[in-house]
Amino acid sequence: MNTTLHQYLRLVSHEVRLEFKNYHALTSLLVYSLATIFIAYISYRQSLDPITWNALFWIIMLFAATNAIARSFIQESRGLQLFHYTFLNPAVVILAKTTYNILLLSVLGFINLSAFSLFFSLSIHDWGQFSLGLLLGSFGLSAVLTLVSGIVSKAHNQAALVAILGFPLLFPLLITIIKFSGNAIQGVEWSLNQPNLYLLIALNSIIVVLSFLLFPYLWRD
């Protein structure tokens, strides 16, 4: 058990170090989402009503997440993959990758949020709830897309497939998260938003458990 935990922590820190080692990938992610936000800004040229604001924000998050996570299995060299296959427990690998992607996407999410609210000013009534929603949304997006990119990495790495396979799976999550953060923007009372919160937590747990159970089958080749 201890070695599993050890493996897990090592893998997560390995991912982080790998990311900072070639930080141009990180910068490209940032530029990608900032450019998308700017495109949205020059297309609208006016302040948005809360519903459009919310929807646009999450659509941009969706694309940023797809772009960020699609490469999570692709960037590894053949040799490193072979090393992982031989020595590591696949369930640990998917959990570590998912954890790293959650961290990455949460940070990216808050950067997106600040850039987005710079261009489209909107008074969010309940920042606490909205941030919680952003964290849970990043969690779900990362978990689904990590598994999907694991599937795609076995299918000749066709990067476009991540979006095609991932988007339909994300519908339930996106609907719930948009409802939750929409309520947060309008400052709906906490107790009214709670069912959505529970649903989000349940969805995220289902996703993680499923990728924990299913990923080992992708692993053996």
Binding site: Q158, F167, P168, P172, L203
Partner: protein, 221 residues
């Protein structure tokens, strides 16, 4: 089961019964619904058949992952195809019904969104299958995606509609059919109709499976 005949006869008899009762049977007279209530036997039943076939797909996916027998993958593939056929049929019959009762073929309704989502999910499933040339790898990845997709879809069509209002009977303050006049008479047709369409779907699926197995054998020779 595939070669025994009793359940095929049952399917035929029940289908005749469904059509007979569906077109000239007694129905309760209700405002707005009027004669369109007959569509109950042809619309709702499509969903039941589709759902059974999707369960088949997930079930055979699990079997494949455990046994690695390509026959299971074949059944999973064909049941997804047949589920797609029934899904589209259900969508079309629903659109006709909606046009006469709600005034438009497509309204923003959680049930409809769920349907559109599940059709998209299975479309993505076929795209994944087509992207992988290798048989056993295709089977494995498709099984993993299929199981994940099935769970997400169940969340979308079973859980989410319960949390929002819907125009469908029995939801969002609309009286359910059984509340007034899904009377004994209609029940006597509805349940057999569900069984009939489901059996028909399984029958068609098993025929396709048998054709493809013959094709395999011919290729081997």
């Amino acid at each position: 089961m595939a070669r025994s005949w009793w359940w095929k006869i049952t399917a035929l008899v029940l289908l005749f019964y469904t059509y007979y009762e569906g077109f000239i049977g007694e129905i309760p007279r209700m405002p707005i619904l009027n004669e369109t209530i007959r569509n109950l036997y042809f619309h709702v039943t499509m969903w039941m058949a589709m759902l059974v076939l999707m369960i088949c797909n997930a079930f055979y996916g699990i079997l494949y992952l455990n046994k690695s027998d390509l026959y299971f993958d074949l059944v999973a593939d064909e049941s997804a195809r047949m589920a797609m056929v029934f899904g589209i049929a259900g969508l079309l019959t629903g659109m006709v019904w909606a046009n006469y009762t709600w005034g438009a073929p497509w309204v923003n309704d959680p049930q409809l969104n769920g349907t559109a989502a599940s059709l998209l999910i299975y479309a993505a499933y076929f795209i994944l299958r087509n992207a992988i040339p290798d048989d056993s790898k295709r089977a494995r990845l498709a099984a993993v995606y299929g199981i994940f997709a099935f769970v997400m879809m169940i969340v979308f069509i079973m859980v989410l509609p319960k949390m929002t209002d819907s125009l469908h009977p029995g939801k969002g303050g609309n009286p359910g059919f059984n509340k007034y006049d899904l009377d004994a008479n209609m029940r006597m047709v509805f349940y057999p109709a569900v069984i009939a369409w489901t059996l028909l779907g399984v029958w068609m699926m098993s025929l396709r499976v048998r054709i493809r197995r013959i094709e395999w054998k011919n290729e081997d020779q």
